[in-house]
């Protein structure tokens, strides 16, 4: 079995949201930590797509940013292609690894510098990693990259505001490919796009994956998109991974109550006019999550153990689940 391209172990990212020091001393207020990511571990195989799914506030974007080095980690080990990615190493030392890890962002309007021409935007990684130097060669490569994402080399002379949302995402993809990255984190790449454009971008991403052997970490809240794109899926809730499954297992045999909730509440074209009674309750704040299993206030199967003890990820067919009820075969 091939070693995975990316391995994440025990990733934690806490934000200190305590009141200012003076308030803490005078009013005796305690320190408060926002545990955005609270111990996440997974592996991504080469050339495959691993998706992180969950609602807002679950920490999936933060995981991606920690892997790419945009945030520091509070704790955790990240191994890329066998090499441990050092959080504290100098910028120069990290460059060879950084070159291979790139990202596509959610907002097509904020992800391109509005004052730069497309030519400069796509050329920046090429120049930064020193692969090609002469102006002509760089321009030629920019043209090739634009072509591979479905645009034309002439588009390089335009500014981002002259393009639609879908086209801007294509430019972002071209930029991510420009450094010859083989691992691309995609943070909600199609959420801000219209449905018909979404289909174009998703098809493009799949084509590029095949052509260049790319590995994707896909972050999304849309389970249908995730099912269409992924080889493995991890479901996150309030900073923790509650279920990780490979292939179709998540959809055919969901084990965690939250996964089942998600699958049931997504409005779908296949169930027309259905009157569902959706599960009540809202996602609690990550600053004061419930003790034990974070999901227990909303879970129909919660018992005393769920309120006290944090469940561990335990093996099930084609993956793992963190749920006492599943482990005790109560559901």
């Amino acid at each position: 079995m091939d070693a995975p391209l990316l391995k994440v172990t025990g990733l934690k990212r806490y934000f200190d949201v305590s009141p200012p020091w003076l308030n803490r001393v005078i009013e005796r207020k305690p320190r408060r930590l926002l545990k955005a990511v609270d111990g996440v571990s997974f592996a991504v195989a080469r050339g495959k797509t691993f998706s992180l799914v969950g609602e807002s506030g679950c920490g999936k974007s933060t995981v991606a940013k920690c892997i790419l080095g945009l945030h520091g980690m509070t704790e955790g080990v990240i191994t890329f292609d066998g090499v441990e990615v050092e959080d504290t190493a100098s910028r120069i030392a990290m460059l060879p690894i950084r070159r291979r890890l790139q990202m596509i962002f959610q907002d097509p309007y904020a992800s391109l510098n509005p004052r730069w021409k497309v030519r400069s935007i796509v050329a920046e990684p090429i120049r930064a990693f020193g692969q090609v130097q002469e102006r002509e060669a760089v321009l030629h490569q920019v043209g090739e990259l634009l072509r591979s994402v479905g645009l034309t080399p002439a588009d390089a002379e335009k500014y981002p505001h002259e393009f639609s949302g879908g086209q801007r995402q294509r430019i972002s993809i071209a930029r991510a490919l420009a450094s010859r990255a083989d691992f691309i984190a995609c943070d909600e790449p199609t959420s801000a796009l219209d449905v018909s454009v979404q289909a174009q971008i998703l098809n493009l991403m799949k084509d590029l994956q095949e052509e260049f052997g790319l590995t994707y970490l896909l972050i999304s809240h849309n389970l249908a998109v995730v099912r269409h794109m992924s080889d493995s899926i991890g479901v996150m809730y309030l900073g923790r991974l509650v279920e990780v499954r490979h292939g179709e297992a998540l959809f055919e045999d969901p084990r965690h109550p939250y996964t089942r909730l998600l699958l049931n509440t997504i409005p779908s074209l296949e169930i027309i006019g259905q009157d569902r009674t959706p599960l009540a309750g809202e996602v609690p704040s990550p600053i004061d999550p419930p003790a034990g299993c974070h999901f227990h206030p909303r879970c129909p199967h919660a018992n005393q153990r769920c309120r006290e003890e944090t469940p561990e990820l335990l093996r099930v067919p084609a993956g793992a689940v963190a749920c006492h009820a599943a482990q005790e075969a109560r559901i």
């Binding site: 807002s56 018909s196 269409h228 296949e270 169930i271 569902r276 009540a280 809202e282």
Partner: protein, 333 residues
Amino acid sequence: MTEPREALLDIRNLRVEFPTRRGTLCAIDDVSLTIGEGEILGVVGESGAGKSLTGSAVIGLLPEPGRIVQGEIHLSGRRIDGLSDEEMRRIRGKEIGAIFQDPLTSLNPLYSIAYQLVETIRTHLDLTAKQARKRALDLLQEVGIPAAEERMDGYPHEFSGGMRQRVVIALALAAHPRLIIADEPTTALDVSIQAQIIAVLKRLCREHHASVMLITHDMGVIAEAADRVAVMYAGRIAETGPVEEVIRRARHPYTYGLMGSIPQLKTPAERLSQIDGAMPRLTEMPDGCAFHPRCPRAVDRCRAQRPPIEVVAAGHDVACWLFESAPKPGARI
């Protein structure tokens, strides 16, 4: 039109234009819709299709410098598109309620929930302060705010997004309007909350006998909540019909392509069918049918003449020259 009963809302040949320095843009081009009593009509389309503007036109809140230049809007038989600001103000809230996308900006952050509800109620209904407060409490309980009596004097920022949207629904229904315009009511909410809000909306509108114009880009929401749906493209209506008909047996190539490009949870496809290109900008509208540059079935007539609305089946209309034959199922569009 195919709606036999007297419609609650009747939009006929509406045309909305925006004069700009680059010429006059036509944002809504000859759109006709009807909504019956107690019916939920979905108006679906992608960004720029004109669906939100249609809702704004009905409620009389077209953004400057938009103008209705042609067509009529009738509410319960009474013409409302040419009314003065004062008359429209009386209609808003009392006969037409509105729910917008962002619950954060729909509620005034400086006033308590109870205050805003009571103010709306007393503006349109002749009740004392005490009666109005009781009514506000009833409404909050109806929309499912837990511990409503204790929380109703709280401020919007003390509620979560889903709760705020419920309050907005309560506000919209406060004066017993017969029509609700809901513009992307679930888009800003988490997935598991969206389902709750749709359920609340459906239930309340049924109980209050209110009709809804549900404007959204999310077909899944339409599938779950709407009775009929109108598909808009580039300011024009492409297809109208019962929800199941339009989703399963779409006649317009755009609708058909749209359904195919939505990834499905239950029946995954290897490749999503995609519609190449993008919706034309209002400044660059093609002649004839607005969709023809992206349509694989386009013939010369499509390029030259704009297709009229034709009846395909009971209650199912489509604007396509090739309406007699359905797009081939499974064909890549």
